[in-house]
Symmetry: D2
Amino acid sequence: MQHPANGQPPQYPTSLGTSDADTITLLGHDLAGELIGRTGFGELALWLVTQRRPEPGEVRVFEAVLVALADHGFTPTALATRLTYLSAPDSVQGALAAGLLGGGSRFLGVTEDCGAFLHEALTAHEGRLPGDTDDAGWDRLALETVRAARAERRLVPGLGHPVHKIRDPRTPVLLAIAEENGHKGPHLRLFEAVGRVHPQVLGRALPLNGAGVCGAALADLGLPIGLLRGFALLARTAGLLGHLAEEQRAPLGMDVYLSVDRNARYVAPPGD
Amino acid sequence: MQHPANGQPPQYPTSLGTSDADTITLLGHDLAGELIGRTGFGELALWLVTQRRPEPGEVRVFEAVLVALADHGFTPTALATRLTYLSAPDSVQGALAAGLLGGGSRFLGVTEDCGAFLHEALTAHEGRLPGDTDDAGWDRLALETVRAARAERRLVPGLGHPVHKIRDPRTPVLLAIAEENGHKGPHLRLFEAVGRVHPQVLGRALPLNGAGVCGAALADLGLPIGLLRGFALLARTAGLLGHLAEEQRAPLGMDVYLSVDRNARYVAPPGD
Amino acid sequence: MQHPANGQPPQYPTSLGTSDADTITLLGHDLAGELIGRTGFGELALWLVTQRRPEPGEVRVFEAVLVALADHGFTPTALATRLTYLSAPDSVQGALAAGLLGGGSRFLGVTEDCGAFLHEALTAHEGRLPGDTDDAGWDRLALETVRAARAERRLVPGLGHPVHKIRDPRTPVLLAIAEENGHKGPHLRLFEAVGRVHPQVLGRALPLNGAGVCGAALADLGLPIGLLRGFALLARTAGLLGHLAEEQRAPLGMDVYLSVDRNARYVAPPGD
Amino acid sequence: MQHPANGQPPQYPTSLGTSDADTITLLGHDLAGELIGRTGFGELALWLVTQRRPEPGEVRVFEAVLVALADHGFTPTALATRLTYLSAPDSVQGALAAGLLGGGSRFLGVTEDCGAFLHEALTAHEGRLPGDTDDAGWDRLALETVRAARAERRLVPGLGHPVHKIRDPRTPVLLAIAEENGHKGPHLRLFEAVGRVHPQVLGRALPLNGAGVCGAALADLGLPIGLLRGFALLARTAGLLGHLAEEQRAPLGMDVYLSVDRNARYVAPPGD
């Protein structure tokens, strides 16, 4: 904003949408004449965030990540959406928002945490990073990074999964897609190396999980680290719409509610 | 849910995501082997809701609609997201949810209202609808529908726009895309006819607005009428991520806040 | 807002909070010197909405209603809050908001619906309402109102309860408190009469439920009908804080989640 | 939850609300017979969280804190609520939730941050805390705490205020109320001492702000540190209802929106 000296109202600069009586402009392009029908939705989402038109390989990696993150069945977020819809069917937006509010540190946060963890390590070694094919160099950096995390008693995000204990099926597929499209950058290389070296430090082998590889892939696309969680939320919005549609056709929110309420058991408060 | 007679826990059927130690299944397909990298994000979103794999023409219309609805600049929803991020930068999910909560009856609701309005008219005339090329037939149906709405003092959703008073530039483009892809169905045909005949009833010519044509197009794709608002919300999620990214780079939420707070003027309560 | 002719920024009038370097003013009173420690929280909440200082009897009725609505155990809203906290423990505000989003038409909406239903009937008979002690007069009005609802196939809000099938224990207590404090007004009188006469129309006796009597009581306090749901939400905020505190001490969100996820059963999509 | 060995559904223990056909029990008491009309709303809120019936002095301090935090005029949270209501007037719950989502680290978070900061210092010195009247002892502890914070480049929460630069009028009033009611405990004593000694370390005198003293007072009531933000949210719920009521009577959300939208200025994206 610029506060003009003369007391006029402030001006609000933006590079996103503006419109006048005849045209709607988005990102500097004519929405109707240049974007609708010519730009995919994933492409536009990426473009809106980076404010730079993505090239097709970036879009392919980005959409692959969104597909990977869209739905995992009866997660807490899906249940929150279904229970909220049960209780307030008048507000689809509220049911959707309730589900997205679970996209925090625990169930959806790994994507952002993993991207941020890798980014921090890369930033600390800026100018001294291994070359693309120098696996040994990436392994040394990964070893140092995992050791430092362990010394600070921090978890290494992206390692391990409650269900996929040996191998997360999404991980090799996403790595291959990034490679094919020329977007396997330093975050993914370091993440792969973490996958190779961490047993030396942690004493056991954990799989690189899908949420973590998604975070690394998004970071390699140059997306803002402080917004990586947001892409998991965009993906999950599609999944939650799927849950709402299924709930409309064959509701089970009431059954979830009753399965808890009917098995409630009163216990005396600790303070009484 | 099935409540088994033997007191066992209930079963929860779903056609969305399930997983076991080695595989993740979504919509009956192997997520890693069949979907990631082979399915676009818009395609998956459509599939998640209909639980039927869309064909390419449907995806093109669907993505065109999402692109049309993604962002309109400093809307109330975008401002709510930016102000919430200002106040709680610790929670990207909260800022996003706050924006989506504005996707209700007024600013984003036209899409759903228009789809529902047209759907109701079509359902009432089921079995007696005009043929695809029978413009005169659609005009008669539209005339009857607009007259009925006026008689009940209901607004015709999708007519008029506060900014695009003569013509909404999105409307002809979306109609052409639906036609090209073979998905200009009865909702869009009736909507077009409403555009032709309403001046006879209302006494003035209003443009068919973009949100309305989006609702008609989504309804023609067979999407659940009670969830049309949800697709506007999916599209807007991408737009709100754009606003959050811009707010992170060049914040203006504080300026919006101060422009109101500094111009607050106390007035005595009416009840005192 | 006033848009000054000279292009100056708009002014925003309010009777709520304003402040300068030395004082904070709320509702025209010095917050620190006149309100903190001298005004109860329920009193202030009532005052903030009506912008008229309530008298003690009003506060007693209002707080009785809030106490009645604060918690009902493992409701869908409480479950949404607990599941969201499980998934995003970094955001207490998100968990609370997720719970409140269930405060819609179905589980919390009866309060508002009942107040609105009674208000509509009273408004239609304005100037011709029975006297306070004219029970027969109220019965006639109630009969007419219930008959009209039945003729339009509308439900009478506030009648019946899924658990308290004979008698809701809150109803007589709340009626007595309103009476004792001189605030049993036309909404409560009409509601009582609905309780007496509805079996004549509906053919069976249903209890007046607690949510309904709360709506009638709030309407008799002169609160805005279009905001009655908001008071149920204020009450429920306290209940949800109780659930969050209990979840922090003895979590059960994970168990709710697993009880669903482990009993998921894949069924083929209808469209495949 | 107990997972019974025999495959029966789990049991969910709670000390909050339960009900059967004839009674509703809350916190082990009969809601209708013992709580409604006999328990204030603030008292119940405190009780729901601690699960221990508060004594009157605790309730007085608690309600004083809620009154202090209820509203500060056109905050970002109030604006988010008003803009969401403008955009989605069909959902009061959504407008309220949108406002609460701003109750995060920046605008409402000081209450929790301050309570947590003091709590951490007290816990680190457990068993070695000064006596109630040993001001010099509290000053030594405060000096050590502020020095430690400065050494780690952490801010001392509760110090300073953008508007009340010299003195926050709420602070002395809240301290006096806690003292009068016998609840000026170690958190408030340490906070007062921080107010006395910090200029020695920071080189300038800052006021103890109202949000901070509220956090210290809530911590002295024994409330869970990880939930302090929740009480600010409860207080703010009342304030936001006030804003919604005012917005219903004299809307200004549209003016806020237009004041931004009309002053939008397109700038080329950095990436183009």
